[in-house]
Amino acid sequence: MTSPVIRRVAILAMAAALPALPLAAQELRIGLASEPSSADPHFHNLGPNNQLRRNVFESLVGTDEAQQLTPLLAESWEPVSETSWQFNLRSDVTFSDGSPFDAHDVVYTVCRIPGVPDSPSLFTTYTGGITGMEVVDPHTLIVHSAESYPLMPTEFSTFGIISARANGVDGSALTFSTEGCGDDMPVPATQAFNDGTAAIGTGPFLLESFRRGEGIELVRNPDYWGEAAPWERVTMLPLTSEGPRVAALIAGDVDFVENPPLQDLERLRADDDLRVVQGISNRVIYIHLDHAQVPSPMITGTDGANPLQDIRVREALTIAVNRDAIVERIMGGVAVSAGELLPPGMFGAHVEGDLPPRGFDAERAQALLAEAGYPNGFGITIGTPNDRYINDAQVAQAVAQMWARIGVDTEIDASTASTFFSRRNAFEFSAYLAGWGAGTGEMSSPLRALLATRNSDLGLGGTNRGQYSNPEMDEILLEALRTVDDDAREGLLRQASRMAMDDYAIIPLHYEVTPWAMRASIDYSPRADQYTLPYAIRPVE
């Protein structure tokens, strides 16, 4: 029998001899809140897919926690003319099959994107503006557009690069054209990514298996050009129901979960073995109002007039909402009251305090209604999804009560997301609650989608289902979308945002805050884009 002292010393000596990370820490199991529909990086432009993609297929430009652009496969980029950008690519990168990465792979990727069969949402949103690609040398790429295109580097952060050579294409023989790069260009099938054969990227992880419903397995890319991922193996399990997801974390079946439900956060925080982190997201929850239809659907007591066309009514509805109460009581403090459509600190948003959330003032709201000719209010219905955003239907319910207090008789029409969005897109609501995540991380994203006058040719107002139109704001926004100089663009975007807010074009409620829960032995920096990126999940020293 060895004495306890000797045994303890021996254990200490063994621990010292081990590498910094114990073996158990090399494996990470994550409970996902929603499952990617495919491992093909270009099949479906959707959050869960893009999140998975970033681990395996890197883009030219990266984004950090606050969605600021960072170098990734491109070391640097700059505008070289009014309508073209030059990307300087890293020269030390290889794909996981060993083939070197160069500018031809970028051309090949952009060529493949429009032709992915059966795709429910193509990435052409980000590549459609490209009119020419010029490979100056293997590590210098110039990309042309028809008009000036300040967002090009941002949009190059949205899609992952696949290898031309690994897919049997001689990149140097490839020429880009908006008409397509040749019908005979071999492209991998989506299925080939799902079964792993085409899953050849430059990212910190390799895709080991993608099994629908069961999980995704990633293993560390041993030849990664950057800092090696802290995990040898990552398993991502789709645990789409909230309760079981949290239970799996507490039971120790997973180490990390996305989006633990608000009602469980307190319990998780109280547990010493667990850690909860949270950060403001780029998603604003808003109520859009019908500016165009006369009479507007489901509005009663106005003799057919659309009261929402009166700015006084819109202001009344805006200041009748007590945002702080919603944040405190409905969102459990896990949200931030919103004064515009993008939180402070992000590009084009006002500095904290410059455009604060509208204060709550029920008396003034009532006076405004009377002034507008509705002393007795009117009847309105808020449409809302009930399974899309955090506590969405409850938030709408709270707003309805607040509106009722100033005499606007408000009803709620809550339905499941699939029904709600179809009805909203058919303009069936006078007021609806929804959310917008600024994918590009700048103000142009919500302004362009939600408030710019609907215009198919310019790609404006795609989600402007309130049909707001303000030509003056459109002008400034379009000017911003043409301005390459960052400072000037940011100024224009702020100006456009303030103009829309002063017009009470839309009612911003709050910015969602995204929570993550994990073992106390690991840590994660919250991201505004709400992504869970295993390579950024770190063991605590």
Binding site: L122, R212, L239, T240, A247, A248, D253, V254, S418, N425
Partner: protein, 325 residues
């Protein structure tokens, strides 16, 4: 027998057609899949292009005729969400569901039959009443609650069993199954128990009623007079005679266990067909929903047929009638 089979088949075809029509138009009326599937950043032109690519810009009757045309050629369409053939997608989820349903079935028999026979034997004693009262819980507790409770007890508090997922799998005859690995089997216990609880109560009640009835029969009195042990009477003679109604009910219940284990599969993140169905409904993945329900109809038809055939094995009286018909 042949006439019987033919009549069954004709009926089934009508059921299939009716189902196809109802589900197709039902899902069509809920909404437009593109509204949920496409990125919010997509431009209006891209939305139109995607609608056209999926054929949603066509009037609904043309979409339906196209669907029927393809279905007649054995093609039920491709999933809007996954871009894969709906049928192969469902088939890839099927082994997980089948093994879970099978284990659930075994659990419900293993729990229900002994309890029921015992309760029937001790019908007027406290043991019998306790079992009957217990079975009420089995009937009335909602599935998701039972699942969560089992997770809470066995996974969170006691940490004996895993709470979620499928665990290790092994390939058997081309199917990936959990039931043959130790880790996989552990993962199956809680969901299978959840699934089995309701059926076990059902079986308990059937077995009790059957036992009570059988105990009054002459052959039991005769066996007792002959001096056979009570255990032998119950296990050998009574059990055989009470199995027919149990098999009938369980057969039908197996169908629902396979097709609609939705709640259990969701709670335990068990990657079975039920979970696929619920996900597909949420994303209006019409080809998968229609194909799934059509397969469900087929499963029910097949199971009913098998139940009828098993009768003839268990009950000599049916066998005699069957062979003379």
């Amino acid at each position: 027998m042949l006439v019987f089979l033919l009549r069954r088949l004709t009926q089934s075809v009508f059921v299939l057609i009716a189902m196809m029509v109802v589900v197709f138009f039902g899902v069509y009326m809920i909404g437009n899949p593109v509204d949920i599937l496409i990125s919010p950043d997509a431009t209006p032109a891209e939305i139109d292009e995607t609608m056209a690519r999926f054929g949603f810009d066509q009037p609904v009757y043309i979409q339906f005729l196209k669907f029927v045309g393809n279905a007649l050629q054995g093609d039920l369409g491709r999933s809007f969400v996954h871009g894969e053939s709906a049928v192969s997608l469902i088939l890839s989820y099927m082994p997980a569901t089948l093994e879970l349903a099978l284990l659930g079935l075994i659990f419900s028999i293993a729990i229900g039959v002994p309890l029921g026979v015992y309760a029937g034997y001790k019908a007027d004693r406290w043991q019998g009443r306790a079992i009957m009262t217990g079975s009420i819980f089995g009937f009335s507790l909602p599935n998701f609650w039972v699942g969560m409770l089992l997770i809470l007890i066995f996974a969170v508090e006691l940490q004996w069993l895993p709470s979620t997922g499928r665990g290790d799998t092994v390939e058997v005859l081309g199917l990936r199954l959990s039931i043959f690995t130790a880790d996989g089997f552990q993962h199956m216990i809680l969901p299978a128990l959840t699934l089995a609880l309701y059926k076990a109560s059902l079986v308990t009640r059937l077995a009790r009623a059957g036992t009570q009835e059988a105990l009054m029969q002459d052959y039991v009195k005769f066996a007792r007079a002959k001096g056979l042990s009570e255990t032998r009477i119950l296990v050998v003679h009574v059990l055989k005679n009470i199995m027919i109604p149990i098999i009938t009910v369980l057969g039908l219940e197996l169908g629902s266990m396979i097709a609609f284990a939705v709640v259990t599969e969701t709670v335990f993140a068990w990657p079975g067909m039920g979970k696929l169905l619920i996900d597909s409904i949420l994303t209006l993945d019409r080809p998968v929903i229609v194909a799934y329900l059509m397969m469900t109809v087929i499963i029910f038809i097949v199971i009913n047929l098998i139940v009828d055939l098993v009768y003839t094995l268990l009950d000599p009286r049916v066998r005699v009638k069957g062979s003379t018909a």
